[in-house]
Each structure stands twice: as structure tokens, then as C-alpha cells.
């Protein structure tokens, strides 16, 4: 291999390790299935060890539409959340029999008492929201630093990406002062059809000493989900 060839190899290797390329790949891997349908069981645990549970169902399409409905417990049953492109969000409040448009400032607030924000439960598009820089790597994991492109609740994120499946195994969320605030772990990676997907998400809020474990079940990928599911009409059902 000549000098030119070696230079090209170095350039390609550098390009391959670029953080922005990696998170784009993370996004495209996450959003590779055109549709997703799953039930979930959330377990909320506070500092005293008290546990509360939430159950529900989610539908996703094209990586930019998501419908989430709670089925348990009774106090939040039928509350439904619809996330559409361009930060358009609706919530159905069964006690008022009404669908309401939500102010986008809700994005950084916790959803229904969990440790996930509305934004984190909306859609997964890290490359649109963050600039990534590769900090380090080993044989199996890239470690990236993600800096928000626009206004965000976080100063930065540290993401550990699995090299084999491009899945973020762990994400650390730092607050504006640079203090570690929340940690998300993605576990139980399963192969469904040709896709690898985590089926257990654990979000820990270190300030509140509270955590939410989200167990994803009955996951179906690339199934036919009619477009009308992602509408206000369906939100009421």
C-alpha cells in the first residue's frame, strides 16, 4: 500500500469514528423498523423502595410518530399521548373527554410521574438534537459526548454505544452545571426479525433518587399500523 493508500485508510477510519456519523447510525438503527407496536410495564421506585406500576401500549411509525396509551393503574387509565413531527403533541384527558394540544415546553418535564421526559418518550432522533464527539472507545463500545444544538434541559450527554448493534447501552445526562443528573441503561437486547432492539430501559434520576424501569413486551416490528392511529381521532378511543 502506498502512502496515498495509507492516508486514505486513516481518513476513512477517522470518518468512521466521527461521533456525528455514529449517532446518525444509532438513529437509523433505532428507526429502521417502519413501524413498532408494543405493550410496556413501567416500575417506578422511589428512594424508600416503594414501587408503583404503570402499564400501557405504544405505536410508532417512521421514527417520528408515537402514540402511547396507559391501561393501568385506574387513576391514569385511558390517558393517551400523541407525538407528531415538528414537536406537535396532544394529550387525551378522559375526565374532561377532551384532546388538548400541549405546549412544547412540556418536553423537558417528566411524563406521568416517571423519570422519562415527554421528549424522551416521543421519538428518537439524537442526530437532530445533538452534535456528537467521540471521547474514547474499546473493542465493543464507543463513548460519545453529545452537546445540544438548541435549548435543552441538559448541558451534555455521555453515550456508550454498542459497536456491534449501534445501540446506546448507557446514556448519562448532565445538568446545566455539569453534574450527573440521570442515567439511562438499555438492556435485554433481542433480535426480532432482522433488528436488534433493547427491551428493558432503566432510567435513574440521581437527584430525586428515583428510577423507572420500562419493560417492553410483545414487541412487533414492521407490521401494518394504519396512519389513522396517529391522529386525534384515535387518541380518544
Amino acid at each position: 500500500m502506498g502512502i496515498l493508500g495509507k492516508v486514505m485508510c486513516i481518513l476513512i477510519a477517522t470518518k468512521a469514528m466521527d461521533g456525528n456519523v455514529i449517532i446518525k447510525k444509532v438513529d437509523s438503527t433505532f428507526n429502521a423498523p417502519k413501524t413498532k407496536k408494543a405493550t410496556f410495564c413501567m416500575e417506578l421506585k422511589d428512594a424508600s423502595g416503594n414501587i408503583e406500576k404503570r402499564k400501557g401500549i405504544t405505536y410508532e411509525a417512521n421514527g417520528n410518530r408515537r402514540l402511547l396509551k396507559f391501561t393501568e393503574p385506574a387513576s391514569i387509565r385511558k390517558i393517551a399521548f400523541l407525538s407528531l413531527p415538528n414537536d406537535v403533541m396532544y394529550i387525551y384527558l378522559p375526565s374532561f373527554r377532551k384532546v388538548r394540544r400541549i405546549a412544547t415546553s412540556v418536553k423537558n418535564t417528566n411524563f406521568a410521574g416517571t423519570d422519562f421526559t415527554y421528549d424522551e418518550l416521543s421519538t428518537m432522533e439524537y442526530s437532530k438534537k445533538y452534535r456528537a464527539k467521540l471521547l474514547s472507545q474499546n473493542d465493543s463500545v464507543w463513548v460519545l459526548k453529545l452537546l445540544p444544538k438548541s435549548n435543552s434541559a441538559y448541558h451534555h450527554l455521555i453515550m456508550h454505544v454498542d459497536k456491534k448493534h449501534y445501540i446506546p447501552l448507557k446514556i448519562e445526562f448532565y445538568d446545566k452545571s455539569g453534574t450527573l443528573w440521570k442515567v439511562l441503561e438499555e438492556k435485554n437486547i433481542k433480535k426480532i426479525k432482522e433488528y436488534y432492539v433493547p427491551t428493558l430501559l432503566i432510567m435513574k434520576d440521581l437527584k430525586k433518587k428515583h428510577q423507572t424501569k420500562m419493560d417492553i413486551k410483545n414487541l412487533e416490528l414492521d407490521i401494518n399500523i394504519p396512519e389513522k392511529v396517529f391522529t386525534r381521532r384515535y387518541l380518544r378511543r
Binding site: D46, P73, A74, V88, F96, R97, R100, R101, S105
Partner: protein, 439 residues
């Protein structure tokens, strides 16, 4: 007996569609103390809501809600009341079928007793006139009851349109207790020397025919450049009564009078529009209704020194406008602010329409287990604020120690001067404790 039969029908559905049927509900205890009136117990209610839902097929859904309230001791006791076990009240708030994609694809039919809720504003919706308001508990305003209706909705990619037909108008439920006077829209006889010792109020509801009692609604919804918009039309009966005849008749030479009033309902058309959107994280909404009422005249008969006088007062005739504009924002550390400017409160029509600022600031703690609302209230806007004002202040603390269990402790305080928003509220200054269990 009739309601008992309805309850059996209600529960029969659960057996009929047992496979895909759920029976859920809630129990609520509401206790209130009037701090201005010798700490009297002003509200004492146990309320049970039973929700029955069944989806026998992908295209068919039944929903029904049965409400049972026990108010304990009646507001005023007679000997007959001593024979009753309690002040139990039954009501089927909703009972309807949804038939999806019927009679054509993208068309939904909803038939039965249902809540039809229009508008983007928060609780105060000038365009929402089909379902009656339930003002039973005035501190919980904005709640609606079901009405028997046929609703047909068509959905396309870019818009939706709904048509609602109500065969028989249903009146708003008035508040319990003496504050119901605020809705009666009758002038107060406060002149010197008049002493009303006897008062009779009669009610005249619209005739049971299509012309007088039916209501119609049409609503068109779309989204343009990220803004949700709708246009609506209502033709029906306003939910609160007006005084049709008022007569004041002397019954002795001491100035004692007999007040007799006949209340009736007015018809109106309402052309409405609303919007909602989010800009720079702030939620914005607006909703307005142009009311085109049929003429409504109050006939007054009262004594003067020269004898009985009869005169007419036109209560409704000219078009009038009611609107609400508002916004909300979620601040850091789980603070939430919601503000609305209101031109025309729920019970105000015609010349009585006034302006208000309504808002609340909430703070959530411990993953939503605790919600504190230190600022919540209503403020009447008036040019001469020193001489004429009204405000109501309603701080509240809500605590949920476990899922499905919620306690609410709050207060209702108000002050006014030369303002007649709540003419019947003179004795109302309350502290309340509610407990709700969902199951």
C-alpha cells in the same frame, strides 16, 4: 324505581359483552366547612362513579358512566325527609355507542347520551353549548353532563367535520344551595321599604317538539402551518334560565311583598371559532362565540304609588360576543403556569358579559405525588378597581400517597365591592378536603 331499572340495564351490558368489557370507576368523598358561618359543614358528599366499557368488535364500542351521589342530610329538612334513608341521587351521566367507519370509511357514528365538548380554552368554552354544564359544585366548574345526541364525524387527512343533532335540549344543572340565585338572571328588588316575605319561582322549559327543543351543531377542524383551527355553528337553547315574568305584589300595608317569577329558556345561534398552537414552548389558545339570540323579553309587574305598573325589559336581542384567550408554560423545576383572559363567564349572556383574568400556578413534587397550587383564582377586570372589584382565590394542595389514592386540601376565599358576580355567595368562605380512590 326507574333509575334502578336503568342500573340493571347498565350492568347487563357487562354480561352481554363480558369478553371485552371492563368495569372501572372511582369513589370520592367531598367535605367542606364554611369558615364564615360557625364552621358549618357546607358540603358532605360521597360520590361513586362506575364506568362500563365494552368493545365487542373493532368497529363497535359501548361506554356508560353511572353516577351515584349521597349528600347525606338534605339542605332543608321536613318531616318527610325523616322517612328517607339518605339523600341518594342516581344518574347515568353517559351511555352511548361508538360505531367506527360507519356508514362509510372514515366516518364515525356516536349515538346515545354523550358529552359533546367543544373548544380549546381551559374549562371556560364559549363555543361549547350542546352538552349541559353541571354547576352542582361551583368550585368544580366547567364539568359537563351527557346529552342524548347523534354525532356523525368525517375525518380526512387534512380536516375533520362533525355534525351533532340533539333531539331534546337539556338544561344546565344549577349549584346546590342558595348560590343558585346567581344564575337566575332576575333583577334584584332592593329598593327601600320592599320586604319580600314570600317568593315563588316557576319554570317553563321548551316544548317537547323539534322546533322548540331540538339543537344542532356543526364543527369543522383543520391544521394550518402548525395551528389547530376550528369553525363551529350552534343552533339551540341556552342552558341557563332567564326570568320571563316577574311580579311583585303587596300582601299587606306594611310593605311586605310576594315575589313571583316565571323562568324560561332562550334560543340562540352561536357562530364559533377557536385555535391552539405552541410558539417558543408557550401554548396559546383562543376561542370565541358570536351569539345571535332570539329576542327574550322579561315582563315586570310591580307596585307604585299610582298603582301596579307593567313594563317590558329586553334581556336578549342584540348579538353579543364571548371569548377566551390564554396560554400556558412549563417552567423549570416542574412549575406550570396557566393564564386566561375571559370576556363572558359561563353564566353571563348579553349585557351581563364582563371581563376576567383567570389563572393558576402549580408546582409538582416527588414525581407528581404532591401538587401544590399556591396561586389559583379569578379576578374581575374593572376600570375603577378601587370602587368596584371582585376576586376569588383558590389555593390547593393535592397529595397522592399511592397510585389511585388522592387527597386534596384547599380553600375558596373571595372579596368584592360593588360587583354582582356571585350575588348568592355572601356566606361562602370555605375550606375543603376531598379524597378520591380510583379502581
Amino acid at each position: 324505581m326507574k333509575r334502578g331499572a336503568l342500573f340493571i340495564v347498565f350492568l347487563s351490558f357487562s354480561m352481554l359483552f363480558a369478553k371485552d368489557t371492563s368495569l372501572t370507576g372511582s369513589f370520592m368523598l367531598k367535605e367542606r366547612i364554611n369558615t364564615k358561618d360557625s364552621l358549618s359543614l357546607s358540603w358532605n358528599e360521597g360520590k361513586l362513579l362506575l364506568d362500563l366499557e365494552s368493545t365487542p368488535s373493532e368497529h363497535l364500542r359501548f361506554f356508560g358512566e353511572l353516577r351515584v351521589s349521597d349528600f347525606g342530610t338534605p339542605l332543608s329538612l321536613t318531616l318527610l325527609d325523616l322517612q328517607k334513608r339518605n339523600g341518594l341521587f342516581w344518574d347515568i351521566r353517559e351511555a352511548y355507542f361508538d360505531v367506527y367507519d360507519f356508514p362509510a370509511e372514515n366516518v364515525d357514528l356516536k349515538i346515545g347520551k354523550q358529552i359533546i365538548s367543544w373548544g380549546t380554552a381551559d374549562k371556560i368554552n364559549p363555543t361549547s353549548n350542546l352538552s349541559p354544564y353541571n354547576f352542582e359544585d361551583i368550585l368544580d366548574f366547567g364539568k359537563k353532563d351527557g346529552i342524548v345526541a347523534l354525532k356523525l364525524s368525517y375525518f380526512s387527512d387534512n380536516f375533520s367535520i362533525e355534525g351533532d343533532l340533539v333531539p331534546r335540549f337539556r338544561w344546565d344543572i344549577l349549584p346546590r344551595g342558595d348560590i343558585q340565585n346567581m344564575f337566575l338572571n332576575q333583577p334584584m328588588f332592593t329598593s327601600q321599604g320592599v320586604n319580600i316575605v314570600k317568593s315563588d319561582v316557576f319554570l317553563n322549559v321548551p316544548d317537547n317538539n323539534i322546533k322548540d327543543g331540538a339543537e344542532l351543531g356543526v364543527k369543522f377542524n383543520t391544521t394550518i402551518k402548525g395551528v389547530d383551527l376550528s369553525l363551529s355553528y350552534f343552533n339551540g337553547v341556552l342552558g341557563l334560565p332567564f326570568a320571563k315574568n316577574i311580579s311583585l305584589v303587596p300582601i299587606d300595608t306594611m310593605g311586605d311583598m310576594h315575589l313571583s317569577s316565571m323562568l324560561s329558556y332562550a334560543r340562540s345561534q352561536v357562530i364559533g371559532a377557536d385555535f391552539s398552537t405552541s410558539i417558543y414552548g408557550i401554548g396559546f389558545w383562543g376561542e370565541g362565540g358570536l351569539y345571535l339570540p332570539d329576542e327574550f323579553i322579561t315582563e315586570l309587574t310591580y307596585p307604585t304609588y299610582s298603582g301596579m305598573v307593567r313594563e317590558n325589559d329586553t334581556v336578549l336581542n342584540d348579538p353579543f360576543f364571548k371569548f377566551v384567550v390564554g396560554g400556558d408554560y412549563n417552567f423549570k423545576h416542574d412549575f406550570y403556569l396557566n393564564m386566561q383572559y375571559v370576556h363572558g363567564f359561563l353564566h353571563e349572556y348579553g349585557d351581563s358579559v364582563k371581563n376576567y383574568l383567570v389563572g393558576r400556578l402549580e408546582k409538582k413534587l416527588f414525581n407528581d405525588k404532591l401538587k401544590i397550587t399556591p396561586i389559583s383564582g379569578l379576578f374581575a377586570l374593572h376600570k375603577n378597581i378601587e370602587d368596584t372589584f371582585f376576586y376569588a382565590y383558590m389555593p390547593e394542595v393535592e397529595y397522592s400517597p399511592y397510585d389511585c389514592v388522592r387527597f386534596t386540601l384547599g380553600a375558596f376565599l373571595y372579596d368584592y365591592k360593588n360587583f354582582t358576580f356571585f350575588p348568592g355567595l355572601d356566606k361562602m368562605r370555605e375550606v375543603y378536603l376531598n379524597m378520591k380512590i380510583d379502581f
